[in-house]
Symmetry: C2
Subunit: 216 residues, 2 copies
Amino acid sequence: MSEVLYLVCMARPRTFDRDHVLHAAERQFRESGYNGTSVDDISAATGLGRGSLYAAFEGKHGVLVQAMTGYFSRLGNVPAKVLAGPDDGALERLHSYLLRAVHGVPLADDVPPASDRAAAACFAGKMALEIGASDAEVQRIAAECFSVLVTAVTECVRAAQRNGDIDPDADAEDLAYLLLTVIRGTDVVGAYGHSPARLTQIAESAFAVLPRTGRR
Amino acid sequence: MSEVLYLVCMARPRTFDRDHVLHAAERQFRESGYNGTSVDDISAATGLGRGSLYAAFEGKHGVLVQAMTGYFSRLGNVPAKVLAGPDDGALERLHSYLLRAVHGVPLADDVPPASDRAAAACFAGKMALEIGASDAEVQRIAAECFSVLVTAVTECVRAAQRNGDIDPDADAEDLAYLLLTVIRGTDVVGAYGHSPARLTQIAESAFAVLPRTGRR
DNA sequence: TACGTTATTGACTGTTCAGTACAAAAACGG
DNA sequence: CCGTTTTTGTACTGAACAGTCAATAACGTA
């Protein structure tokens, strides 16, 4: 055969932006859930044909996994960034984070406050609750997302403790788990149809009950 | 014809127990979600043929709605019963309820502590999060479940306030929403794969941060 | 301009889906 | 034992499903 080893040879470049496609798929999964979304839905939402989808990712499940990974790498470090800073303002950063988080998770700088409820809930959490019990990989990614949040919030609580705002006897990690459980809980409560004002109130209550220094 | 008007004539009675069937369907929906459950799955889980299913309920969606309604009427009044009582023990009842709720919602008297995680999460909450955004009826039923919980917990918080255990200046309903948000949140956190011990810790933390009388 | 390579496209496959139709069987009062 | 009504299981239907594939298009290189 005349195979002359064309080692350096460019082929047709892909015309879509990978991250953009995964983000569109994420929106679709958010809206309809995993089992409620068909490959055609993904195809329509992303503009990619079925063939391209199977070539670039690995079928429906591959799209989900990579969309979750993309979600994580896009927003996973936002809370840490938002919560980091001098001990002085730690409590206020925690307060501000809580209020924002219940309305549209790790808000990126440019992302609007949350178009609707479905877009606000934690993507990883929603997928974990739907299929995490029977999909170890999904559960793993979701757990990783949450773990990063726990670390960031714990660190901020510790900062507030150092600054004398939060009771130094309290376990910082326990408080972090509590606050993040509240945030995840608002995803469910929001799904019941409660108003944003109610969710804000819940976040304020959670902040208000934090054990402050010198109160007892 | 020889139609002699047999007006009074009993026909074949159904052999299955309606509530039992709906409970089995609930377990299936819990395990696989709504969109992840096929009518054949329901048929297998309940032991009923398709014909009987469509005759007794109204297709898949009808089974879900009636299973949720059954869930509500089966367990909806349990929290109120568990939380009701003299002001004296209100705080302890709240404590006990919190601890039990995170491991397997409105525990009935005979129901074991929760076979697995999927069985522990609130059925209404899980369905609401999966399809509530596009299914008004499901959202309505779920919201009704939650509303009853809020009422029961609020009442218990008020009792604890009257007894001097909880800060009387705190808004009882706000605290109830907060506690219930924590409970719902543990459904999500549990889906991440966290241990029951962790969920217990979260519940204990939530209880510990409740504003007590005379602390400030 | 011709070639190798990869992306894209849309049609195709066999399967599974929700819902319907229907015949057979079962259980009751008479 | 009979007539009636309901249950019950099965077979069917058209649509939707996930996944595959061959043909075509677009590129850098020679």
